[in-house]
Amino acid sequence: MLDITDLHANIDGKEILKGLSLHVKAGEVAAIMGPNGSGKSTLSYVVAGRAGYDVTSGSIMLNGEDILAMEANERAAKGIFLAFQYPLEIPGVTTMTFLKAAMNAQRKQRGEEELTTPDFIKRVRAAADKLGVSQDMLRRPLNVGFSGGEKKRMEVLQMVLLEPKIAILDETDSGLDIDALRIVAEGVNALRSPDRAFLVITHYQRLLEYIVPDSVHVQSAGRIVKSGDKELAHELEKNGYRDYVADAA
């Protein structure tokens, strides 16, 4: 589904990704772990299409289609979803207004009919109930004054409603207490399906207790330096990243 091959990317002339390759199959939950500064967030931004990154070589293919020339919104419409580590606040724009605009913008780009208001409201209600997102939160401006846990639940709500092909979760566990973590993980697990993939970026093994991965990859100094199954996560928890940091250097 997602094929990243020998990806090199710079920001402000500094190379952050240095020949990173990663292949995620449909239905797979792949975890990326690694020390601070290894370029994990950069990887998520480059895949999602954030401006300011200069891809100097390599490729990113989604279901066989090169996405590197696409704008972030085109990638979103193709099915890439990034759950932000620090979701942005958008003052003056109610969450409902934003959700409707996002869902319909993607549908429009795919040549689909826009949602009717009753259909839209029905979908939001159903998803919000499951994630413990209150009506009050939906009426408030997007993420403004939300707690860390509320912002992460809002990210998962968006993911549920936008039904991506591949969802990238960038440190979604950071700043979450155990109850919020469970709610978020349940939301993700409910979305697991044979035709959807996940890329779970995390610093700690804790999240992977709740979202059990099919594969675990260690990223260090802008490359994937080791891949394995979920046991690799346990090993990292025990031994830390020092072996891999040394490898990369």
């Binding site: 979103a76 724009v93 996002a102 913008a105």
Partner: protein, 427 residues
């Protein structure tokens, strides 16, 4: 004191002085009023058009912007609006609606009111606030007409009182009007002041409010699609004990607009709120200069202005809050925020606090920035094309101020105006 301008008489100043001389004999009103006008004209004559060395006009140099003064003309009255609570002031001449106003509301054309004006009315119509400003003085000297709106004590006027200030004809001309709103104790009303004009119009308009104890007045100022080329709009308000005065400005049209407000809380517990949205592009220039004067204790004031600038547009926010020595427990908050969409746009923010009491809470904040790249990416990553993402952020930014417009119908209409401005920007 600001330094006096050199005694240069520009072509425009000379023309304005001549128009006063031509008109003074035919002005409505008796001797007292004639004396009042002559004194006002002296203020203008001494000062001339405000220019950059006058601090309050530093960023809007009228001497430079008004190279030519268009002839000030009086037109024929407009046809009376058959329905609704709509007052028309066209080419400086007031026309009242034909229908009977709701109970508690009295409308009089200013020309009629001036014919037998009492000293009290003259005093209310020519307050000391802003009287030493050259353009306020010129308005006082020259205004023949406008509307007198009287709201009886305790009256609640649910229907919005609409005041359409407009002009006719393609020939360049100037119009002048002055209107007075007297809100009785405990009364409640709202006024929508809309400004329109053909392309070549210079306007000097003044709205004067006296809000009685416990009364509440909501005022909205808006520019229409075609607005005056040059407009000096003055708002003067005196807010009584426990009274509330709110004014909101929605500015999206016109080439040069100077809005100046002189608002005084003269009764304890007076609440003042001045807010607005400026949407400017091309070479538009809008200046909001406010003086909020807390004369007595327990007053509250809020200013919130949101500005979006594109092209080579420029905007000024000068907000002065004065807290007099006895005005303890004053609560003041002032904020001006601007987003620049273009490298050639300019925002001038000058908040000022003059506090002479020691037990007050007053704050101000001014920000100028560009659209936030992180916010844009966030929305694009959810599927919104760049233009739509930018539009949503700008709209949200402006809506934070718009939300304060209490009347739902007006709020929605202004919201539609905002969306329309954004759509035209994107296209």
């Amino acid at each position: 004191m600001t330094p006096r301008p050199p005694a240069i008489r520009t072509k425009a100043e000379t023309a304005l002085a001549e128009s006063f001389e031509q008109n003074r004999a035919t002005m409505p009103g008796g001797d007292a009023l004639r004396g009042q006008r002559a004194r006002a004209f002296d203020v203008f004559h001494e000062r001339g058009l405000p220019h950059r060395r006058i601090e309050a006009w530093h960023y809007t140099d009228l001497r430079n912007l008004m190279r030519e003064a268009y002839p000030i003309t009086q037109g024929a009255p407009a046809a009376a609006p058959a329905s609704g609570l709509r007052i028309i002031i066209r080419d400086g001449v007031c026309t009242l609606p034909t229908g009977a106003p709701p109970a508690g509301l009295k409308l009089t054309t200013l020309r009629d009111a001036l014919a037998g004006a009492s000293d009290a009315l003259i005093h209310a119509l020519f307050p000391d606030q802003g009287a030493d400003d050259a353009m306020v003085a010129f308005n006082a000297a020259m205004a023949r007409d406008g509307v007198l709106i009287e709201i009886a004590p305790g009256a609640v006027i649910d229907e919005v009182i609409e005041l359409d200030v407009t002009a006719s004809g393609d020939a360049p001309h100037g119009d002048i009007s002055r209107s007075l709103v007297l809100v009785g104790e405990g009364a409640r009303a709202s006024i929508l002041e809309s400004h329109a004009a053909p392309p070549k119009v210079q306007r000097n308009s003044a709205m004067i409010f006296a809000v009685g104890a416990g009364a509440s007045l909501a005022h909205v100022f808006e520019t229409c699609a075609d607005s005056p080329e040059l407009h000096v709009s003055t708002l003067i308000a005196d807010v009584g004990k426990d009274a509330r005065f709110e004014s909101f400005a929605f500015v999206s049209a016109g080439e040069v607009l100077r809005r100046q407000g002189f608002v005084r809380g003269s009764g304890e517990g007076a609440k003042i709120a001045l807010r607005g949205v400026n949407l400017l592009k091309a070479k538009q220039h809008a200046d909001t200069t406010l003086v909020v004067d807390h004369a007595v204790p327990h007053g509250e004031s809020r200013e919130l202005f949101k500005t979006i600038l594109d092209g080579e547009a420029s905007c000024v926010f000068q907000g002065k809050v004065v807290v007099r020595p006895h005005a303890q427990k004053t609560d003041g908050g002032m904020k001006s925020q601007a987003i620049l969409l273009s490298d050639d746009a300019a925002m001038y923010n000058k908040p000022e606090l003059e506090i002479f009491a020691d037990d007050v809470v007053c704050g101000h904040g001014a920000t100028v920035g560009q659209l936030d790249a992180d916010q844009i990416f966030y929305l694009m990553a959810r599927g919104l094309p760049r233009a739509q993402a930018e539009g949503m952020i700008i709209e949200g930014f402006a809506r934070e101020a718009l939300e304060f417009v209490g009347n739902e119908a007006i709020r929605e209409r202004l919201g539609a105006g905002l969306a329309d401005w954004l759509a035209r920007r994107a296209s």
